[in-house]
Symmetry: C2
Amino acid sequence: MKLVVVGGVAAGMSAASRARRMDASAEIVVLEKGQRISYGACGLPYWIEGQVRGLDELTVYTPEFFERERNIRVRLGAEVAALHPARREVVLADGERIGFDRLVWAAGARPRQRFDDPRVFSLHTDTDAVRLQAALHEGKPRTAAVVGGGYIGLEMAGALRARGLEVELHDRGPHLLHWNEDWLTKMIAERLERSRVSVHLNSAVEDPRALRKDLILTATGLTPNAAIPAAAGAETGRSGALRVNDYCETSIAGVYAAGDCCETRHAVTGAAAWVPLGTTANKMGRVAGANAAGRRERFFGIAGTTVVRIAGLGVATTGLSAALAAGEGFGAVAARITKRERPAYFRGRKAAVELVGDRRTGRLLGGAVVGDIDPTGRINVVAAALHAHLTVDQFAQLDLAYAPPYATVMDPLLVAAQELLKLLD
Amino acid sequence: MKLVVVGGVAAGMSAASRARRMDASAEIVVLEKGQRISYGACGLPYWIEGQVRGLDELTVYTPEFFERERNIRVRLGAEVAALHPARREVVLADGERIGFDRLVWAAGARPRQRFDDPRVFSLHTDTDAVRLQAALHEGKPRTAAVVGGGYIGLEMAGALRARGLEVELHDRGPHLLHWNEDWLTKMIAERLERSRVSVHLNSAVEDPRALRKDLILTATGLTPNAAIPAAAGAETGRSGALRVNDYCETSIAGVYAAGDCCETRHAVTGAAAWVPLGTTANKMGRVAGANAAGRRERFFGIAGTTVVRIAGLGVATTGLSAALAAGEGFGAVAARITKRERPAYFRGRKAAVELVGDRRTGRLLGGAVVGDIDPTGRINVVAAALHAHLTVDQFAQLDLAYAPPYATVMDPLLVAAQELLKLLD
């Protein structure tokens, strides 16, 4: 069996590795168009910020490692230009044809906009980061604009501030992040302003090159790298990303997909959703690789969990906000509380918790946790509850850990759930 | 409607408050045999340790607050001596008879052993803590023994060390805590020894008064305060605690129970279990109070989640260890990994995660998280999964939050689940 994997970052390398574990004798080839595999792209803003010393610190494994330890052949600079399902082959940009028995398409996504201008940057690949790093070192820019108030834009606004630049942030819409709630946008904007990032909402920047700044970073979202399988007949969803079933199979027999190039099932809506994130890519890649090697594993889908640190403020969300849930047809109700995460005598800091429930079914639909804390533990509890379709009354009684050095007897999560129950009653 | 609540700590005050919210006109009386209500008993070791300045810091609400704000009458020093279901009355120790329409029994638990000796102490009530505090101030003890290696014993060993005493800890069994696994006992014992608490396992102390120490603290477990309802005909379980159904009803009509005096359903075994903890008492109290006031709410049970900090080491468990699960008839398999909780470039510290699964059903049965970290976030995710009866393969794909300042792309929980899946395969 010959397995070809297209893409050598999170989903691709996970797929190749897991396929190898399932099938010791398969021939496995990874085609990566770039010059580096398996790097922690999510760490790139922190290299710019200065927390990470170099790209090597973000690179998990080298091609040599995969060759030597896992008998996986990695070809760098190998860009796939076409897919021929009937002939079971892919064609590289230089015309080379490579046959396969099974294919995992894990080509990721790319910035929706790129501008060919020496002052305008993206931060998506290692190459982007190297170029930006060089410009910061050599060009000594003093002023910067960040276009896009998603988590990359927010991380980069912080990173550029940390490098001493004057920074302004623009978003075309009325909200920062994707939660679409005024209270959260306000908390984030206030924190940014306090760290001297000036925030401009409802500010559509049609051409970033027109901004009079030394450096402009665009982070206006991604588009999936799905055109080649789509041209070969693979179905795509509304997002343009590949559609896959719960086994990571595209509509082309023997062709699997995983990661940022494809949709997956959302645990709350039950429908296909496109939420490109490295964590999902790793997990889907594992499933796609196992199934390509003959297993029959399910990928159970996502809750849409994200976390970002913005000038010290931890902001985490999962599932649907009330605004998003209403858009999906739920009878959405939200409750928000602010409460210390630990007793005052253990210097507990305050956390804001919002939970969203469905009036018709009593189900929990989503949540947000925000504060000068690490919000991951609590948001992960909400995420687990969403995967499990817990109702708000079940959630309100979760047996969460308590000891004074770490928690309060009624965790903010439970207090928020109790408030939400009153509204659902 | 007249509601009498017996016990004014966690379960009792929660029951009274929730009943008031459900029924604005009911007469509500709380009978508390002690001199203080609604105090955070779990914080007592930290008052001894010196983190908490005084008992007042642990007292959430006063009787006056309940009278004034919630129209709940609180009688201190009111010890119930008998219950007469047919006459719908309780009799106090001084002979006074108090009638009720509904009763919530929330009388808690008490130390299994108490010794009438000036050198021997328990730490269960505010009175215990005051007595111990006075002995530490006035007696200037230099050496101490702690008898019992459960979480109270472990917290108190740390507290007495923090007060400068030489401390030794004895447990009659081969393990510390209740997880019954050698690896965890070893980690805790090493940490205690490093903080100069000498640990003696398999060391049965039949009479603590025989120990040649200036101060002896016994923490050898609790026994439920259930004798009075039991004498009145209420069913009890193997533990001696009251049996209640999912609505917190005892077998006596109109008599509810909540908190440390009663059993509840364990989410993993589905059977009744007696796990006296303040968090459960609060939640059960709310349900008992609501139902006593005419609602029909379910208490969904517990996962048995606990956390304790031992000389800086965070130790959290939930559900069943492999040893406990085997004892319950499961085909228990455990996997344990150690992994950084955050990237090295964010100074991530190592966390040990053990997960336990059932070979026959693939269900997750329990977990432990241990390290120089706050383990509550992760153990709470496991607890939520136990409540929801997730399988290990579902758990391994949970959409957990990732950003470099807070987490790794594959959380230690997920890596442990992947290892466990290999063993279950």
